[in-house]
Structures are given as structure tokens and as C-alpha cells.
């Protein structure tokens, strides 16, 4: 049963991702991106990372995409054609895909992963208690650094949004 759900949601995520790249209208692209994020949240549920699925819907599909749509409608950008690809773009894409394929093949042919796939261990990311415990013991310093980063980002956004040339 979960296998069917995996195929449905991964197909949906990939189709919506193609929609993001190929849709001429930017607002439609943003809508497709919301679709991708939601289907990825369902994939997170299939991986038993329930907390992260909720965070994905709240932060990505909620806050981030509202911000994106707000800016898209504020700027009111016109529909545009695709970029004229030059030699460098093609070379970069080919090298990128080559490296990615090599990486995926290397990961899939590793012995340590083959043995893990048969005996599935108990999921650790299920309970919120585990999450909070790890965040405030093992990852206490990264947690505080992240909080500080959010503060700096807020100050930076306010500084960027101030109209400097009007003074």
C-alpha cells in the first residue's frame, strides 16, 4: 500500500517540478512549487518523519511561498522566454548531470547501503520528544547559532528594504 503512495507522490512531485521550470507564467510556477512541496511532505510522512512533514507544510508551503507570491505580484514581472543557452550553459549542465549520475551510481552500488535496505531499523524521527531532546543537548550550539542567524537575517532584510536614495 505504501509502495503505491510512494509512486503517486513522487510522480506528482516530479511533474510539479517540471511545471515550475517550464511554465511561462511565474504565478503558475509558484503554484506548481507549492504542489511539489506538499507531495514532498507526503514523502516525508512515508519516511516516518512526521514532524518534518508538518514543518515542511508550515514553513515551505506556507510562509516561504506566501513571501514568493507576494513578491511576484508586487514586482508584476512579465512572461518571458527561456534563456538563449550558450556553450558554457550546456557544458555546465552536462558536467553537473555527469557528476550527479556518478554520485547516484556510487551510492547505489555501495555494500553498506545494500545490507541496510533489507532490515529496516526502527524509525527515530517519529517522536517529537526525541527531536527536542537532541536539539537541546547534542545540537545546542547549532540551535543557538541558527537563532542568531534568523535575527541577523531579520536585521538585514530591514536594512535592505529601507529606501536609501530618498534621504
Amino acid at each position: 500500500m505504501t509502495d503505491i503512495f510512494f509512486y503517486i507522490f513522487s510522480m506528482l512531485a516530479l511533474a510539479c517540478a517540471f511545471g515550475v521550470v517550464f511554465s511561462r507564467n511565474t504565478v503558475n510556477g509558484a503554484m506548481f512549487l507549492i504542489g511539489t512541496f506538499l507531495s514532498m511532505a507526503s514523502l516525508f510522512v512515508l519516511l516516518e518523519a512526521y514532524f518534518l512533514a508538518v514543518i515542511q507544510v508550515l514553513v515551505y508551503a506556507g510562509a516561504v511561498m506566501v513571501l514568493f507570491l507576494f513578491i511576484i505580484m508586487l514586482l508584476d514581472v512579465k512572461e518571458t522566454a527561456a534563456r538563449k543557452a550558450n556553450v558554457y550553459t550546456w557544458a555546465a549542465s552536462l558536467i553537473g548531470f555527469g557528476i550527479l549520475i556518478v554520485g547516484v551510481v556510487a551510492i547505489n552500488s555501495a555494500d553498506s547501503i545494500k545490507t541496510q535496505a533489507e532490515t529496516l531499523p526502527e524509525a527515530q524521527g517519529v517522536s517529537l520528544k526525541n527531536f527536542g531532546y537532541e536539539l537541546f543537548t547534542t545540537y545546542l550550539l547549532p540551535m543557538q547559532v541558527t537563532g542568531f542567524l534568523l535575527l541577523i537575517a531579520m536585521v538585514g532584510v530591514i536594512a535592505l528594504s529601507k529606501r536609501l536614495d530618498s534621504q
Binding site: M40, F68, R83
Partner: protein, 100 residues
């Protein structure tokens, strides 16, 4: 039975699609959305690895990535708005003041 390879395949395909968008679109906002797609593809890979390894660290890593991505989106969109105010465009090919 869905194994780790399936999740890695989906994750890498999503990453490639995002990369394609960054390379071949010229609207800065669309490029930025494709960057978010690439970040999310990495998140999927990390969670899959964490699930099949049986540990917790991948999930926490994804938590931090989501936080940093939210901050990054706020700053990046503020930069795009400031740029639009200055140059009246979001096309990457017209934003070449540093090039020449």
C-alpha cells in the same frame, strides 16, 4: 518494498530539474524558486538516509536546513526587490553591471 535507491532516484531527479531551471530560465524569481527546489531535494535525500540508517542526525540536519532556507528566502527576496527598485528589471541578462 520501497528501498533507499528509489528515494535517492527521486531526490536526484528533483535536484536535476531544479538545476535545469537555474541554468535555463532568466527570471531571477524563477531561478530562486528552482534553488528552493534543489534544497528540498537534498532534504528528501537526507531524510531517506536517516530513515534507512536508523539514526536521528539526518532529521535534525534537515530541520536546520529548513530554518536557514527560510532566512535565505527572506534576504534573497529583499535583495531582488531592492534590485528591481534600482534597475526596474529582474532578468539576469540585463543585470550585468559587474560583468563589464
Amino acid at each position: 518494498m520501497i528501498a533507499l535507491e528509489h528515494y535517492i532516484a527521486v531526490s536526484s531527479l528533483l535536484f536535476s530539474i531544479g538545476f535545469l531551471g537555474v541554468l535555463f530560465r532568466k527570471n531571477t524569481l524563477v531561478m530562486y524558486m528552482c534553488l528552493e527546489l534543489m534544497l528540498n531535494a537534498c532534504n528528501l535525500g537526507l531524510i531517506a538516509f536517516s530513515r534507512f540508517h536508523g539514526g536521528m542526525s539526518g532529521n535534525l540536519f534537515v530541520f536546520f536546513i529548513i530554518t536557514v532556507a527560510a532566512a535565505e528566502v527572506a534576504v534573497g527576496l529583499a535583495i531582488i526587490v531592492a534590485l528591481f527598485r534600482k534597475r526596474q528589471t529582474v532578468e539576469v541578462e540585463e543585470l550585468n553591471a559587474l560583468k563589464d
